[in-house]
Structure formats: structure tokens, C-alpha cells
């Protein structure tokens, strides 16, 4: 759960996240904050903290944006009910936002308030996280076209499951990123899940199984056998290179297919240093440009929700008090 205060639609005055990574790492990836009870406990402290860090009070706030989906209905309802209650009590307008549509806009967030380099509409966004892997054409702040998405597992899920298999703990993505720097990305060849040339959909389910088979081969089927450090580093590097390769290729194909020149990455996996390096190296020719928000705005955050909400409000949208949660918004 998070809360943020934005000024003028993009200047981030505060962005607070009630992160429980320490608790997750105890379990190797479970997310206790998914439980709605945890949300109920944290919603007020987190909003208070955001207001305090921004040095404002609720009366300074012009409008409220809130995630309407997708996600677990219990968790979404807590935020939504809170936003509605505040809107009702204060008479401020509020609007519901699609979480996935907010990710590609995070690149407009301005932490320091002195301007940031931003892409030109329309642009292509690659949204990669634990739950999503999508190529999206961003036509404006409120208009999106899905170019391709995953058929099965998300890229972040492959990172997390691989890390768990290698006994690396949580969060898997960050640990693999670090270990991979010391491994040989060519040590183990994994088949690239490309589907076919030019195709903009993803499939990472087979890669996860291939990694598991390779690990099993290494320990003769007994997954409780400790793995050698060198092997772990090489498999982390080889796995990461496979994912980065596929994501980079498809991002470029999306630019080709749309004739657009700006590519933006967003979502938790957009924090991966190798992916940033690879996309940065692959762009620049033919006028193509690469943009990425700072890591803290790539992973889930409330500032991007506020930014998206600002533009929906500018477009005249207003939430009604009977607004419902949409656990599985179809888009993306």
C-alpha cells in the first residue's frame, strides 16, 4: 500500500510505500500486505505520512486518485472505500485509476520539481512486473492500445521462481540482478521464448521449467542438494540474459511495427540493471529513444496513480460514490 502527494500533476512532494520486504524474505516471497486486514491497518498511517512528508494537510489537497483495479478485490476495496469516505467527507473530487495504465506514465514523475526528460506521445511502453508483461502503445495520458501481452507467466514471476529454485530468497529480481553480474551469461543456453519473429506476445512458462530441469540435472534430481556458487551465478546470468534478450527484441519489434521512436520501460522488472543497459544500447539509432523512470517509480507506487488520476480529472472524469472495484480489469 502506498500514498503520494503530487503538485501540478507531476511534481512529487511525497511518495510513501508501506514495504514489507523484510517480512517477505522470511517466507521467500509471500506478501502479507495482500491481506486486506493489513491494508486496513496501514491505510491511515500511510496517508498521514504522505501528507506530513509533503508538508501539507488534507485541506490543501484538491482531488483524490485511487486504484480501482486490477488486483485482489479485498485490497482494492480498502483503498477505494477510504478514498470515497474522504471525498464524501471533504467534498473533494475523486477518480478511479487502472493500475496498469499508470505504470507507463511513471516516467513523467518529477521528483526534484525541476523538469524531467519525457517521451513524446504516442510512445511504446514495456510494462514488466511480477503479474504483468505487456507492450502498450501510449496514445495520451488516458488512451492506451495493447500491442501484446504474456500468454502465461509474467517476466517478474520467472525471476521470482528462478530465485526461489536457486535458494536465493526474496525479492528474487534484485538478487538475480546482483549475482548475474558475476556470472557468465553464455554458460547455459536457454531457448529464447520468441514465439515467432515480429510477434509481440510473451511466454515465460517454459523458461521457468527449463531452468528447473537444468538445476535438477545439476543436483541429480535432489533439489535439497546445495548448489555450487559458480553454478548459481552462471544460471542467474544465463537466465537473466534470456529474459532481457526477449524483452529487448520485442520492444524493438514494437517500435518497428508501430513506426514510433520512443520506448519506455516500467514495472518492477524495469529496475533490472541489465535490462536498462540492453535497451539503452539497442536504441539511439534511427532516432529511437529510451526512457525509464527511477527504480522507485518503476515498481508499484502511489505517485504514478496520482499522476494518472490528475489527467483523468483534467479530462473531466469524476468518480461516483457507488464506484466498484474491478479485480480483473480486462485491459492489459
Amino acid at each position: 500500500m502506498g500514498a503520494a502527494v503530487l503538485k501540478d500533476g507531476s511534481h512529487v512532494l511525497s511518495s510513501v510505500i508501506s514495504s514489507q520486504d523484510e517480512i517477505h524474505s522470511l517466507y521467500g516471497g509471500i506478501v502479507p500486505e495482500l491481506a486486506s486486514r493489513r491494508h486496513i491497518e496501514t491505510v491511515i498511517p500511510v496517508v498521514d505520512e504522505a501528507l506530513q512528508q509533503a508538508s501539507v494537510t488534507m485541506s490543501d489537497i484538491d482531488a483524490i486518485g485511487v486504484t480501482q483495479g486490477p488486483g485482489l478485490v479485498g485490497s482494492i476495496l480498502v483503498g477505494l472505500s477510504f478514498a470515497k469516505a474522504v471525498a464524501y467527507a471533504t467534498g473533494k473530487p475523486f477518480v478511479g485509476v487502472n493500475h496498469i495504465e499508470a505504470h507507463p506514465l511513471a516516467v513523467f514523475l518529477d521528483d526534484a520539481g525541476d523538469g524531467v526528460d519525457t517521451p513524446e506521445f504516442p510512445y511504446v511502453a514495456l510494462v514488466v512486473s511480477g503479474g504483468h508483461t505487456s507492450l502498450i502503445q501510449v496514445n495520451s495520458f488516458t488512451d492506451f492500445t495493447v500491442l501484446g501481452k504474456t500468454r502465461d507467466d509474467a517476466a517478474g514471476e520467472a525471476f521470482d521462481k528462478t530465485a526461489k529454485l536457486l535458494g536465493l530468497g526474496y525479492p528474487g529480481g534484485a538478487i538475480i540482478d546482483k549475482l548475474a553480474k558475476e556470472g557468465n551469461p553464455k554458460a547455459i543456453h536457454f531457448k529464447r521464448p520468441i514465439i515467432k519473429k515480429g510477434n509481440l506476445e510473451f511466454s515465460f512458462s517454459g523458461l521457468k521449467t527449463a531452468v528447473m530441469q537444468r538445476v535438477k540435472d545439476e543436483c541429480f534430481g535432489d533439489l535439497s542438494t546445495p548448489l555450487e556458487d559458480g553454478f548459481v551465478r552462471d544460471i542467474a546470468a544465463s537466465f537473466q540474459e534470456t529474459v532481457v534478450d526477449v524483452l529487448t527484441k520485442k520492444a524493438l519489434w514494437a517500435l518497428e511495427a508501430t513506426g514510433l521512436r520512443d520506448i519506455v520501460i516500467a514495472g518492477g522488472v524495469a529496475c533490472n540493471s541489465r535490462l536498462r543497459e540492453s535497451l539503452s544500447a539497442a536504441t539511439g539509432d534511427n532516432g529511437t529513444r529510451f526512457f525509464a523512470a527511477p527504480p522507485k517509480f518503476c515498481s508499484d507506487n502511489a505517485a504514478m496513480i496520482a499522476l494518472s488520476a490528475h489527467h483523468h480529472l483534467e479530462a473531466g472524469e469524476r468518480g461516483e460514490l457507488d464506484m466498484n472495484a474491478y479485480p480483473s480489469i480486462k485491459v492489459m
Binding site: 485482489l72 504474456t150 529454485l165 535438477k216
Partner: protein, 200 residues
Amino acid sequence: MSKEPKPKTAESKLRRSVKSFVTAGMAATEEFGKRLAEGLSAGSVVALRGELGAGKTVLARGIARGLGVEGYLKSPSFTIINEYHEGRIPLYHIDLYRLPEGGADCGDDGLALEEYLYGDGVCVIEWAERALSLIPDDAVMITITYGGELNEVDLDLAEDGPGDIKEEIEESKEELGAEDSMRTLRVSFSEYSGSCNGGN
């Protein structure tokens, strides 16, 4: 829309039948799911167990197809619950992968799963062992074991060992389909239902 939760006590009178199937490859696993779906109705729960990559999502996809859900079946590992409403009855594809493992049954803990389990649709639950106390007694339990016969063979070959043996392994791997090998599906269901029909 909710039905009364079925009693789930230790002295429950339900006897369970177990049947084992061997499916050759993903297509066969999916086909099994499709057939299984024919016997499912509102309130049916299918609990799937099996290690990473065993084919749980493939079986779930078969069930989805059987219910009339087209399109991709995205993994719910992170989202925990994916809802599909386009089939003949709703499908709730649930994945408890991110709940604690190792017997620490965390129960519902605010996930509101019971809304789904005793609701208006079919629940297919992957990693069901993470919250067994939630699984109704009359659920269809399916354990999928990855075939991987070749893993049983403990081969101790030197790196530069006899080339022909290596070749033979490669060939038999190909015959079995290295990525697409046999799965054993151990299906356990309530005796009184007389079929894979967990929800009546």
C-alpha cells in the same frame, strides 16, 4: 449467491477414490482438464498439487477450455486470483504459491477466498497444499507428478565419457520428448459423487 459451507470435520463420512492417469505431454494434460470440466458445476473446487513446471496451469487451461473460456490463461502466481466470466459458469483461477510453505497453513488471512470457494463458479486452486484447511472436503484433488523417467537414472559419466552412450541418452530424451514428457495425474475425489463431479 453463496452456498452454505460444507461441514469439514475429521469424522467426515466421505470416502475418497483415487485414480491415476498417465498423460503423454501437455496436450494430453490439457485434454484431461477439458473432460474434467464437463463434470464441474457452480461450487466445484479442483485443488491442484505438483511441483514447479509439473503442468498445473496446463491442466487449469484445459478446465478453462472445457468451461468455454477462450484466450490465454495467465498465471495467477502474483495476482493470486484471476476471474473469467465468459464461460458457461464463472471460473476462478487461484494460485496460493505466494503463501507460506512448509505446513504453515495460514488459513484465509483476509484473502476472502471463501467468497470464491462457496460461490457461483468453479475454483481451480494451484498450490492448494498451502491452505489445505480451506479446501472443501468434496473438492477434486489432483496431484501431478512430472514424469522425468530419465531423472531416475543415476548416470556417472566422465565429462569426456563414451560418446555413443551420450548419444543414446539424447535420442531417448528426444523419443520421450524432453520438454514434453509424461505426467502422472493422481486424481482423488469423493466416493458419493461417482464421477469427477465434486460440486453436487
